[in-house]
């Protein structure tokens, strides 16, 4: 393989998922990987699964998938702010109630990580970090030597993850790379309604390359369906404006400052 698509944090946004998958197929990628968190936030969680199946997407288990698959009490995001927890729980209870037993079984059995080869490069795909499914690895709170040690300890050239909901890429030492592939489920707190997935490529001429692909989709329809499902207006606002309104507690200063709230 020389070119793969990586996506994650779908959060039930089947409309954006369909656009992203069609785009990735059009670009002729060798494989498509989903790094976890199929449900949450959006409406009709079961609607993502036929798409993942149709496009032969290889899926990993995120913390949300572990929770829904095993019917745990909460999403394991670890929020402590009462307001964040309130909204996270509303979203979790809705998603659990609307995910079929068949799809929950599927989520239960997904692997936590996967090693693939991209040209000569060894790539580790995971959800939060190679060491923990719900670890928030933020761009502004992770030193380069920390990321490099994690990659070296696992003997890989590239680590690709998601979980935080904001894409980023940092070259490490000796040709190693760390990539957060972004999230399809909600905009990344930048005032744009687009969401993102990533193309990871290797070529002899350029070596490793990560390209972030914006996904423009019918966000008004998603917002309407969220309202029809009585999901919180705060979530709908994020879809319509591109600004995060909840789960802000976890953002480090630099990422928080870029947002509106």
């Amino acid at each position: 393989m020389n070119r793969i698509a990586c996506l994650g944090g779908i959060y039930s946004n089947y409309l954006a998922l369909e656009v992203a998958l069609r785009d990735a197929r059009r670009r002729g990628v060798d494989a498509i990987y989903c790094l976890g968190d199929m449900g949450a936030f959006g409406p009709h969680p079961d609607r993502v699964f036929p798409l993942l199946n149709e496009y032969n997407v290889v899926c990993l288990q995120g913390n949300y998938d572990d929770s829904i698959g095993n019917a745990l009490d909460n999403c394991q995001c670890g929020y402590t702010d009462p307001r964040d927890n309130y909204f996270a729980q509303l979203s979790y209870d809705y998603t659990l109630a609307h995910t079929s037993e068949c799809n929950r079984r599927l989520l239960r059995d997904l692997p936590r990580s996967l090693r693939v080869e991209l040209g000569p490069l060894r790539v580790l795909l995971c959800h939060g970090s190679p060491r923990k499914v719900n670890e928030f690895v933020w761009e502004s709170t992770s030193s380069t030597h920390f990321l490099d040690v994690l990659a070296r300890q696992r003997g890989v050239d590239v680590v690709a993850c998601t979980h935080t909901g904001i894409k980023w890429h940092r070259p490490l030492g000796e040709g190693r790379h760390w990539v957060n592939v972004g999230a399809l489920g909600r905009p990344e707190n930048d005032g744009s309604t687009d969401v993102w997935y990533s193309l990871l490529e290797y070529s002899a001429a350029d070596g490793f390359r990560a390209e972030f692909v914006p996904v423009t989709y019918n966000y008004e329809r998603l917002a309407q369906e969220m309202r029809e499902q009585s999901l919180p207006e705060e979530f709908v606002e994020t879809i319509l404006t591109g600004w995060w309104t909840t789960c802000l507690e976890i953002l480090p200063a630099m990422e928080r400052r870029r947002g509106k709230y």
Binding site: C126, T141, S142, H145
Partner: protein
């Protein structure tokens, strides 16, 4: 998922040896006792009794911090934290933070009462040029002079709020850190009051971290010390997410060497070695403060702390600490 990395008690069954041993899984957070125990305030709940006259720990110089930053690189330290005492009593503090931001993210724990415009201007500029966050944590223990000043000293609420205002003016989003000197059942009401007061003072998206009090140092006199049964037992480690404990992922540099965590520096057994490498040994969590750390988790990092809820899997914010990859 947890507990697997925790050694059981030694075979010698004294109370001392029964303390579970907690290995350092990875040095995520490196702390610096950068102002020693010197502080311009004398808070009556301070767990290391800092004051203008407490010199039991000395300042760290820029050169010393630079040496430790270099030492931390091959160990893959993720974030750097600076505490005291009051860090900004150290005249090299701004230089220290500017240098640190070339290595990684930095957090400084300040009482907010001695900040200067020139310092904040330089720090804001250093953060803008860095890929890393500079977090400013400001200690305020009540949302009014009436609730804060009896603990931190006369006039400290107004002075700290002026500090918050300055930080906001320079573009920082300070994390207001309050020790829970009220009953835990009142958390919501107190947090709401904090948010209201901070907003009305011009901080429109306040961030808060609530800490439990630690029954050592000055707090032992203000309220009470730990009871003998307030200790972590080996049985308590079964099923517990050990990554909640500070000693599992942190160490702190003082002018005496490298200690296990910022809370226990006054305990002789906390000094683990002269180098970061030497300090990477397991620690027996035998102290009363370890019990508080166990109860509340993530005590010292920038996230807020509430007791882990029963019925949910305990996987915390920061780290490994079990090997995710090897699970499947």
């Amino acid at each position: 998922m947890s507990g697997a990395n925790v050694s059981g008690p030694n075979s010698n069954r004294s109370e001392e040896s029964a303390a579970p041993l907690v290995p350092l899984s990875h040095l995520d957070e490196l702390w610096f006792q950068v102002a020693g125990t010197r502080c311009n305030l004398t808070c009556n709940h301070c767990f290391i009794s800092c004051s203008p006259h407490n010199d039991s720990f000395g300042f760290l110089s820029l050169d010393e911090v630079a040496r430790r930053l270099e030492e931390s690189v091959p160990l893959g330290v993720k974030e750097y934290y600076f505490t005291g005492g009051e860090p900004f009593l150290n005249l090299e503090m701004v230089d220290i933070l500017v240098l640190t931001l070339r290595y990684g993210p930095a957090t400084v724990l300040t009482n907010g009462t001695v900040l200067k415009d020139a310092w904040l201007e330089r720090l804001a500029s250093a953060e803008t040029e860095s890929p890393y966050s500079l977090e400013m944590r400001v200690s305020i223990d009540g949302f009014s002079p009436e609730t804060n000043d009896p603990i931190r000293g006369e006039g400290t609420f107004d002075r700290a709020m002026r500090g918050v205002h300055m930080l906001v003016r320079y573009g920082f989003l300070p994390i207001i850190t309050a020790a829970r000197t009220w009953p835990i059942e009142r958390d919501r009401e107190v947090i709401e009051s904090f948010v209201r007061v901070l907003r009305s003072a011009g901080y429109d998206r306040p961030r808060l971290k609530i800490l439990p009090t630690l029954q050592i140092g000055a707090e032992e006199c203000r309220t009470r010390g730990y009871q003998p049964d307030e200790r972590i037992t080996p049985e308590m480690m079964n099923g517990y997410d050990v990554s909640q404990l500070v000693c599992e992922h942190s160490r702190i540099v003082t002018d005496r060497g490298v200690h296990v965590c910022p809370i226990l520096i006054e305990s002789p057994d906390s000094l683990l070695g002269a180098t970061l490498e030497e300090s990477q040994v397991p620690f027996g969590v035998r102290h009363g403060a370890c019990f508080t750390c166990y109860q509340f988790g993530a005590l010292c990092s920038n996230y807020s702390t509430t007791p882990p809820s029963p019925g949910s899997r305990q996987i915390a914010h920061g780290g490994n600490r079990s090997h995710e990859e090897s699970r499947r």
